[in-house]
Every structure is written in structure tokens, then in C-alpha cells.
């Protein structure tokens, strides 16, 4: 068994196509992901937007609006027409620092503002204040176009959205106060009312549900690890085929050896398992250290994950290799096809596939549960996002159950196999 283990190890590590698909391909694909998703984090970061402010009489009169706009600048600009600038409003935006949101240029009229945004596409739009003190935002056509290209202008859509949200909230509050005062001006003497007006409304608050800050791109890398694991089924498929007399002369020669098939298969299985583990380890280290994808710092669990993933994939490969009445070529072809299709269902091929994966998870959880690529993806997902290890060990249990079933079936197929044809 030991010599079969060493020989299989040698064969696997010298087989150039296996080396490419199981060691180079995941690194190439990770690198591709890195270039594709590198800006994905920036999509959710505030970007400073240049805006014009129409500093007309209405603006100068609207102290609240000036305070709001000042709160969204690092160095508030005070138009000369308005005299002394009011203090910046205290805006609670959680962890987000709104002072990086705007870089303001003051102009005299709406016409000047329009000219500016048409001439200088770096100026995203302009803000005006009406006679009631309401703030209005206008954005340029170029900005509309850029906002729809998240990859080209990362951070712009979210920044526009934040600005729009802040203005909307300000306007609603201003309108509410104005209406109340219109109905009963005496409430101004009510300390509770004035305190409530000055208080920043706190309609939402941030709650961290996951162990780590969500990383949108991490799932793709996890799905890639799952695909690598499944592709590595080819190690076990080849190993099993090489022991079957009906598939090759090599199998015939090995079938004639006095070493039991179980021991030959065990040696081959262990070697294939080790190769798969190494393949996953190389991919995982590259993904972590080069692509900067986190595994939550839980290295023991991460190592256990790739041990389990590689074991399961080899168990499934053993089953595939043992299927009767199929040629070795067909089995290898099936390995590739199964890996590719199951990876689609686990979301590897882009946002559409990821949406499909989520849909399956919600609407057909059984399909997700029996999909080994989904389960391998879940292993890493569980490690990153959950405080508790319970979901991780549940996934480990599912994969090990699959592996045991696959090995049991393979044993049925391979046990004392004799052939009517060679």
C-alpha cells in the first residue's frame, strides 16, 4: 500500500495536465477575479464629489441648509454674499464620515451652476435652496451615466445615494418643523419640542450580524476553491481506473497482482487526497495573501475545511471512477462536466450565477445541500461569517456524509469486480 501511495503521488505530481488544472488554473482564475473584483470594495466607500452651490439670497437666508452642506465638507466653503458661515450641523451617519462627501464651489445663479456642470464633468451637480429653506440637488448627465457604471466610477453611486438621503431627511425635518410652527408657534417655548427638533433622528442603527465585515467578492473565491476541490476528483478517478482490468492493460496487470484491490485503492486514495489537499492549500494561500481574501483568521478551521473538502472530492471521484460500463475517458470527461455545472450552481461564474445560487439556497435547499461545491463554498463562508462554529461543523457533517455514502457505493461497485468483457 505504501509503494502504491508513493507511486500514485509521483504520477499525480508528474502529470502535466493535472498540475495545470489543479495548481495553475485556480491561481490564474484567482488573479482574474482579483482584477475583476479589486474595485468591488471601493464601490461601497464614499468618494468626494465636486458640487456647485447656488449662493443666492435664499441660500444665505437658509441657515439650516448652510449647516447641512457645511457638515458634508472637510473645509466648508462660505460664500461672501452670505457673510459669516453657520456652524456645521452634527449629522450622525454611524461609522461613515460625511465630511468627505462634498467639495463645494459657490456660484451666483442656477445658470452659472448649469454652465459649470456642463463644462466641467468633474463637477457632479449643484445644490440650490428654495424660499422655504428646502435643499434641491441636480446632477449632470455625465454623472447619471457614470453612476450606472459602478466599475468605472466606484463609490459614486453610494455617495450620491448618501447625499440624496441626507438632503431628503433634512427637507422632511424642515417641512415638519415649519408645519408645526405654522399651526402653533408657541411650541417654540416648549423645551422638549426644541430638544426633539435639535436631536438627530435615529431611525436606523447599525447591527453587525456577521463575524466579519461582509466581503462581496469573497464568495467568488470560495466558489473557486470548491471548483478546485471538485476538479481534483480527477486524481481519484484516474487512480481507480488504473486498477480496473476492463479499462486498461495497466489495470489488468495490477488486477493480477497479489496485493488486494482494497490496499491498492487505499494507497491511491491517500495519495490523491494529499494531492488535492496541496492543490487547495496552494490556491487558498494565494487567495489569502495575494488576493487579500479573509478566512477570518480561523486557520485551524480553514485547514480542517480543506482536509474535509479534499477528502469528500476524492470520495466522489472514487465513486465516479468505479462506475461500471464507462470508459476511463468518459469518467474524466464527467469529472470536468460535473465540476463545471455544480460550480455554476454555487455561483462561481458571476453575479448571475451567484443570484442563481442564492435562489437555490432559498427555494430548493435540498439541491443546495446535495451540491458538494455549494457545501465546500459554505465551509469557508461559515468560517468567515458566523461567530459560532456550529454552521461550519454542520457543513462538515454534510460533506462527510456525502463522502461516506460515495465510498460505500464505490465499494459495492468495486468489490470483487470481475468482468464479462475486457
Amino acid at each position: 500500500m505504501w509503494s502504491t501511495f508513493l507511486t500514485t503521488l509521483r504520477i499525480n505530481l508528474r502529470e502535466k495536465s493535472s498540475l495545470f488544472w489543479l495548481f495553475c488554473f485556480p491561481i490564474l482564475l484567482s488573479t482574474m477575479f482579483l482584477s475583476m473584483f479589486g474595485n468591488l470594495g471601493a464601490t461601497y466607500a464614499i468618494t468626494t464629489m465636486r458640487f456647485a452651490v447656488v449662493a443666492d439670497a435664499a441660500y444665505c437666508k437658509a441657515e439650516g441648509a448652510q449647516q447641512l452642506i457645511a457638515a458634508m465638507q472637510r473645509t466648508p466653503v462660505t460664500p461672501q454674499e452670505c457673510g459669516t458661515a453657520p456652524a456645521a450641523m452634527d449629522v450622525d451617519a454611524g461609522d461613515t464620515d460625511l465630511r468627505d462627501l462634498l467639495d463645494v464651489t459657490a456660484v451666483d445663479t442656477v445658470g452659472d451652476a448649469s454652465d459649470l456642470i456642463n463644462d466641467d464633468h468633474d463637477v457632479r451637480g449643484f445644490l440650490t435652496v428654495d424660499g422655504d429653506g428646502m435643499v434641491h440637488m441636480t446632477i449632470s448627465r455625465a454623472t447619471v451615466s457614470n453612476a450606472n457604471d459602478a466599475m468605472g466610477s466606484p463609490g459614486l453611486p453610494i455617495s450620491l445615494s448618501i447625499l440624496n438621503g441626507a438632503i431628503g431627511m433634512f427637507n422632511r425635518q424642515t417641512l415638519t418643523v415649519a408645519q408645526i410652527l405654522g399651526a402653533d408657534p408657541t411650541v417654540l417655548h416648549d423645551a422638549d419640542f426644541t430638544a426633539a427638533v435639535q436631536e438627530t433622528p435615529d431611525f436606523t442603527h447599525q447591527v453587525r450580524l456577521t463575524n466579519f465585515k461582509p466581503d462581496e467578492s469573497a464568495r467568488y473565491y470560495y466558489a473557486l476553491l470548491a471548483m478546485t476541490a471538485l476538479m481534483a476528483m480527477s486524481f481519484a478517478v484516474t487512480t481507480v481506473c488504473a486498477t480496473q482490468a476492463n479499462l486498461s492493460a495497466l489495470g489488468m496487470r495490477r488486477s493480477m497482482a497479489p496485493l488486494t484491490r482494497l490496499r491498492q485503492l487505499m494507497g491511491g486514495f491517500l495519495a490523491s487526497w494529499l494531492c488535492t489537499f496541496c492543490s487547495l492549500l496552494v490556491a487558498l494561500l494565494y487567495i489569502h495573501f495575494v488576493c487579500r481574501i479573509s478566512f477570518g483568521g480561523r486557520w485551524a478551521a480553514t485547514m480542517l475545511a480543506i482536509v474535509v473538502a479534499s477528502f469528500s472530492s476524492n470520495a466522489l471521484g472514487t465513486l465516479l471512477g468505479s462506475l461500471p460500463k464507462l470508459t476511463a475517458g468518459t469518467k474524466i470527461g464527467l469529472t470536468t462536466a460535473i465540476s463545471c455545472v455544480l460550480s455554476l450552481l454555487s455561483g462561481l461564474y458571476g453575479s448571475g450565477a451567484m443570484a442563481l445560487s442564492d435562489w437555490i439556497q432559498r427555494n430548493a435547499p435540498i439541491v443546495a445541500m446535495i451540491n458538494p461545491t455549494q457545501q465546500v463554498t459554505n465551509l469557508f463562508y461559515d468560517i468567515l461569517y458566523y461567530d459560532s462554529y456550529t454552521p461550519f461543523f454542520r457543513t462538515v457533517g454534510i460533506l462527510l456524509t456525502m463522502a461516506v455514502l460515495a465510498l460505500a457505493l464505490a465499494t459495492v461497485f468495486l468489490r470483487r469486480q470481475r468482468y464479462a468483457h475486457l
Binding site: E15, A249, M252, R253, A257, P258, L259, A420
Partner: protein, 335 residues
Amino acid sequence: MNTTAPIPASAAQRTAQPTPAIRVTELVKHYGDNLALDYLSMEVRRGEIYGLLGPNGSGKTTAINCILGLLTYDSGEIRIFGEPMGPTSYDLKRRIGVVPQDIAVFNELTVEENISYFCSLYVADRARRTGLVDEAIAFVGLDDYRTYRPRKLSGGLLRRLNIACGIVHKPKLIFFDEPTVAVDPQSRNAILEGIEQLNAQGSTIVYTSHYMEEVEQICDRIQIIDHGRQIALGTDDELKRMIDVGERISIEAPSLTGDDDTRARTIAALRALPAVHDVAFEQDTLTISCAQGAHNLIDVLQALRQADVPVGHVSSHTPTLNDVFLALTGTDLRD
């Protein structure tokens, strides 16, 4: 009452026949509706080179695979060294070596690694294995190619590697299934000499081939099979004695080509000779099939001189196994 006198042990040993290396009794094997082995029996004696001769598709490889326990069969019995052979007969397998028709080595391993691996399936002791591997490499003459991968070897060298992997554990019974297919004459001779050497060292050999010259050259006994049935069994001489043709004489007689009368008269005169079975004339050459006899050539040449027919090149051939096959089946072995 038992009236049989007890036989002393030593006498019993002297009279007892040694257990044959292989005994196959009425083996039947179907591939679907096709009958591949038709009550085929064989007995391979220990220490002999047993040839299994037949055209392609005659059932040779099927018979071997059934004997080796690789193929299921419908009925019959197979015993190797007196014990029934099955897929889990590991003690028997340890004494058997197989050189399959197709090259059965790992392309990713070197010559030495391949031989060592196949040896390790039979021999657990590492030190002993090293010696056996060296011996096998020297035996097949691959010393200069130890570190070569199979894809860098020529067809002949590959065949030698295939043989080394099958014999490295020094088996007592070795099956060679068409080991010289697609091999150059030099390598073929080296392979045949190697097989004879293995036999001289005590191994029983079962050699299957459709090359009758090889079988004639090295086999002690030959079983001719066709359509899964035994056609004939015996030594080379015994098989040739089974047919009437003892000698085939070819004589160039170009003068007979244009002269129909003389040709007919000459052929009639030759046919009148007592040992002559048949006479044919084709492309300036007379082919005369004779029974076995010491004076056939003299008699034939005398008849031609009397007929006043000048002769050119003369040759005499003893019958081949192809003649035997032709006589017994009506078809050519090479067809």
C-alpha cells in the same frame, strides 16, 4: 475388505505425475451471442513452453484472461498448480507473471520506477526488491535506459520494459500474450531468447501468438485453436505429421509457360509419382506437394529430365504450421 496393496511412499512418488502448471477443463465463454471459447481444454506441464497458436480473434487472449481470473466464464474448470484460480487467489497470483499484449506501464514513471513498482506488488522486502529490479533491468537490457520515461523509448524497448514489469518477481508461471507485436526483428529475437532463458531458469511459459515461426521456434508443445476450439495439439513435429504434406518442392520451369501440351504432360508425369499429392504451376514455377520421403526431390528432378524440361532454381520446404492449419481448417492462419 480392502484388497489393494499399499504402495510405498517412494514408489508412489515415482509413479505419480507432477501436477500440471495449468489444467483447463472444457472452458466455455460467451460474449453475448458469440461463442468465444467452445469447451476448450488444455494442460500445461511444468517447465515447458506451451504455445497457444491461432489467428486473431480465435480466443487465445480470452482463454488467458479466463485462466488469470480476470474474465468470468460460463462453465468449465481452471486449476493452476493444482489449485482453483479466482480473483482472490493471492498465493497463486504471487507465482504468476503476466506480459500483456498492450504495453502496461505508467508513462509518468521512469523505467526503473515502473519495474520497482510492479515488483513491490509482489515483494514486500525492499532490499530484495532492489536486487530483483536490477536483475530484471539487466535481463531485458535496459541498463542504459533506467531513468528514461516510457514515451522516450522505442517500440522494441517498450516491449522489453513491459516484459521486465511482468517477470521482475521471478514467477514460476509466465504468460506472454503476443509479446512481439510491432517489434523490429532484432528486438523480437532478443525477446524470444529471453523467454527461452526464463524457461531454462525453471519458469513455465504460456506463449500466445499468431506468428507461427515464433511458436515453432520456441515452444515445446503447441495448441492450435480457432473459433475458441482446439484444432490440434502436439509438438511441432507431431503437428506436421498430422497432415499428409511432408515436403513442398518449388522448381522454376519457364519453358512450360508457353507450351500447354508439354506442361500438361509434365504435370501428369509428376502426379504419377507415388509420393506426389499435388502439382501446381504458377508464374514459371512448379509447386509439388509430396508425402514424407527421403527421395522426393531426386524423383521429381528425374521425372522432369525425362520430360525434357529444363529447370532453374530448385528449393524444398518442410511444411509449416500454416500448412497444418490450412490442412485442418481449410483457411490460412494469416487470414
